[in-house]
Amino acid sequence: MHAFSAKPNPGAGIDYELFLDCVHCGLCTASCPTYVVTGNENDSPRGRIYLMRSVTDGRLPLNNQVREHLELCLDCRACETACPSGVQYGKLIEPFRIAMDQAHDGDRAPHDWFHKYVLFGLFPHPKRLRWALLPAKLAQRFGILRGMEKLGLMRMLPQRLRQLVYTLPEKLPSEPALPEFLPAIGRRRARVALFTGCVNDVMFRHTNWATARVLQQNGCDVIVPRDQACCGAIHFHAGASDPARRLVDANVKSFAEVDRVIVNVAGCGAMLKDIGHHWHDDAAADRTALAAKTRDINEFLDELGLIQPEGEINLTATYHDACHLGHAQKIREQPRKLLATIPGLKLVDLPETELCCGAAGTYNLTQPEMSAILSRRKLDNILSTGARAVLTANAGCLLQIAREARVRREPLWIAHPIDLLDLSYRKEKPPV
């Protein structure tokens, strides 16, 4: 049926009705970060749906132009928020890109060295990642990275690796791993498991600790299963469906015993909530069950009813809606409500808060140019508010904004909302 090649059509596996949901009204276009930047309809949600559908219909070949426009998509789902027709864009682009990679016509290696060694080899494995980052840690400690930067040596690294190094936080955390169990403080209100994530547990272990403490403060027994795995999002979004499924199924097992799984990384949360739809096999029901009990930390605390924190924090801060929280999980009010309980905190609105910061999972590594444009725009917006701190509930965004601020030497404090709540419970002050 494919008019241009014998290879399977990447749209073949997609429920065609999902394409038909789009009435071509264009209301989504201006909320799409890539379209806002390029102004090219091909880089808009409506355009991408049209492209995918044209390929599926056999009107267009899957050539490099089409690929590039689809690859430039951040999968941020801002379009789903904007679309009044309820178009499920994620359910179109994700399977299409996976199929696109599988159907690749040999004009590009599907999983190049970067994907193979760095993305798939390191990221999903906290231990390996820790080891791999050890030289970087040492280098940081001795100021070698900054020195290299000054000498221009960084430019000798392959571009994407350079991106990765730049994205590393200033200081890699040195907290110990979380114990397997942390008891509720005060009356016990719930028993929950904490999902610690792969990158997160390496780079933001302090946030995992903060999350656990805040949960304890709110009367939760916190279980941290040792055998939990990466959520699989990196693989899945990069088109590696099988490895993703294996990781997901490992988690189904790890979290079988609890009835709430708390996630503090929006990207992981969105993935876990979505896993019910991705594979249609015997285990689908179990995955759906895991999805159903997954809660973002902000969402969970809001549902539970937050115990008022008391420590005063006199700070002007702004909140950035992480795409995977705002657009994918529709969680926007809850973090703002939680933050509003902190005595002394002044929360100011961030212009274009719904626009992606350019991190988008590994997007900053795979599409560095677009990513840089978006992170510059994000920081400009942040600076325009006059806030001294930015709060956002996703590891990728935290790294991205921090990097941008560092490069531009802006003294901003970038943290997870839970970090701030934790400080307030502990009556401590933020470092600004």
Binding site: L20, D21, V23, G26, L27, S44, G47, Y50, S85
Partner: protein
């Protein structure tokens, strides 16, 4: 015909714009074959993204040199096929001319490039105490250039007026390739109001490259209400009473039960689903006068038979209500596999009548019709539901729509209040206007667009009045591919 001249035109355009600001590859131009109106499609031959007026000017000059049609495009949200490249040619897309060049609060104007999205200007004005009044439901995506071309309205244009009432001046590239400013930052330039002519000309007279828009002071306060009615007739009576009593709300919108059910599914606002119709009424102005006005409105609604008049004064609730209203079209996808919507206008006192007729017409043709109206303006948007996979239903839907529009004309109204004629409603022009009227319009178009290269096949019937042929001679014979886009396409 274009094909032979095309390679050298393309080379010149490339030299002008570079590869970054031009698309010439078929697979990247397919997305430009239609806009929000998807019944007719045709691919342009090249898509240009000018960066500034000088680019536009040069593009127009090149199109003249090579005798190739061209047309402007903003965000492509037109519902009338305004961006359809009839006969192919060069599509000039304004999405990269998106600078807000100046905001002058003292003199109450802003200067914007045509690609600025309507809501961006509003956002840029947040906190200044001023706003840009025209607020089409598509304002999150449509461009001010597109608004100027179609003279867009919106819910709040009832009180504040449509786009033309807020445009002080435009800079345009004329078809001879000259750049001309009409109007400007001051009021009352002497002579005929050419700005007023260009606004709403749907891109058939000139290509707009800059706009001076009037800024409006924010109202001090709002009173937002939901009038809940057990019959559509009572609701339309209430509208007619409110206007008849000389109250001009900022907005006065009506939604019937069908649309409420769809909106409730989409947004869970808490609409009473057993109500037959709801009026969304917003008053704005000085705090000092609003309660008095609200009481009058409530009394009028009750006298007309409202079951209840609910307040929605909480700012969050108000925003949510407006979001529901503005996204009403989109939510229809939840009711029916396909729909088509019309944009007729009737005198406001004829609203009860047109409503009864719409119901009758729906029954006659056996199609379900739901309604969401800019009621205060008499601007109706009947939405005909059908299943495009059943040919008899498609026909019934089209026939019913046509009959509704005929009825609007019979009531002394119009076939389009805001979406424009485009390619879609050309057949109705001869019903609205006499051959003499059309002849004058065609002559005016020719005065600006003598060769007919700018946006051929739009707005006017090709053979207009007095037997005069107004077929663009320069342009290639319009060819249009007809194929059906999606099962829910707005026809």
């Amino acid at each position: 015909m274009i094909a032979s001249r095309f390679p050298s035109l393309l080379a010149e355009l490339r030299r002008l714009l570079g590869d970054d600001h031009l698309l010439a590859n078929h697979s990247e131009m397919v997305v430009y074959e239609c806009d929000g109106f998807t019944i007719e499609k045709n691919c342009p031959d090249v898509v240009c993204f000018p960066r500034h007026t000088a680019d536009v000017q040069r593009i127009v000059q090149l199109c003249n040199e090579y005798d190739v049609p061209y047309l402007p495009r903003g965000a492509g949200t037109s519902l009338a096929g305004g961006c359809l490249p009839v006969g192919g040619g060069v599509l000039i897309v304004f999405t990269r001319m998106k600078a807000i060049e100046e905001i002058n609060l003292r003199d109450r104007y802003a200067v914007v490039q045509p690609g600025v999205v309507n809501v961006w200007l509003t956002n840029a004005l947040k906190g200044t105490g001023f706003h840009y009044a025209p607020d089409p439901s598509s304002q999150g995506a449509c461009t001010i250039g597109g608004n100027v071309a179609t003279n867009s309205g919106g819910p709040h244009t009832l009180k504040y007026g449509v786009t033309v009432n807020h445009v002080l001046g435009v800079e345009a590239v004329l078809t001879d390739g000259s750049v001309v400013r009409f109007g400007g930052p001051a009021e009352d330039y002497v002579g005929p109001d050419l700005v007023g002519l260009l606004v709403g000309s749907e891109g058939t007279l000139a290509v707009v490259t800059k706009v001076w828009v009037r800024l409006t002071r924010d109202p001090q306060a709002y009173r937002t209400m939901l009038g809940i009615f057990d019959s559509v007739d009572a609701a339309t009576q209430a509208i007619s009473e409110i206007i008849g009593q000389g109250i001009v709300p900022a907005a006065l919108e009506m939604m019937d039960q069908g649309i409420l059910i769809a909106l409730e599914q989409a947004f869970q606002f808490g609409f009473p689903l057993d109500a037959q119709a709801i009026l969304l009424i917003e008053l704005d102005g000085l705090e000092a006068g609003l309660d008095e006005q609200r009481d009058r409105v409530v009394a009028l609604c009750q006298a007309a038979g409202a079951r209840e008049v609910r307040r929605a004064d909480d700012p969050k609730e108000r925003l949510k209500l407006w979001k529901c209203r503005k996204q009403a079209f989109g939510a229809i996808g939840r009711l029916s596999p396909s729909y088509c919507t019309q944009d007729g206008v009737v005198p406001r006192t004829k609203l009860p009548h047109i409503f009864r007729r719409i119901t009758e017409i729906g029954e006659t043709y056996g199609v379900r019709i739901v309604n969401v109206f800019h009621a205060g303006d008499g601007n109706i948007h009947p939405i005909v539901l059908f299943d495009e996979r059943v040919p008899s239903q498609v026909k019934a839907a089209l026939d019913a729509s046509g009959e509704i529009l005929e009825e609007c004309i019979a009531c002394g109204g119009s076939v389009t209040g805001e979406h424009g004629i485009g390619v879609e409603k050309i057949p109705f022009m001869a019903k609205l206007f006499t051959p003499g009227d059309l002849d004058v319009m065609a002559r005016v178009r020719d005065a600006f667009n003598a060769d007919g290269r700018l946006s051929p096949g739009k707005l006017l019937p090709t053979a207009a009045g007095c037997g005069a042929e107004h077929k663009p001679h320069g342009a290639a014979v319009p060819t249009v591919e007809r194929s059906h886009p999606g099962r829910r396409a707005a026809l």
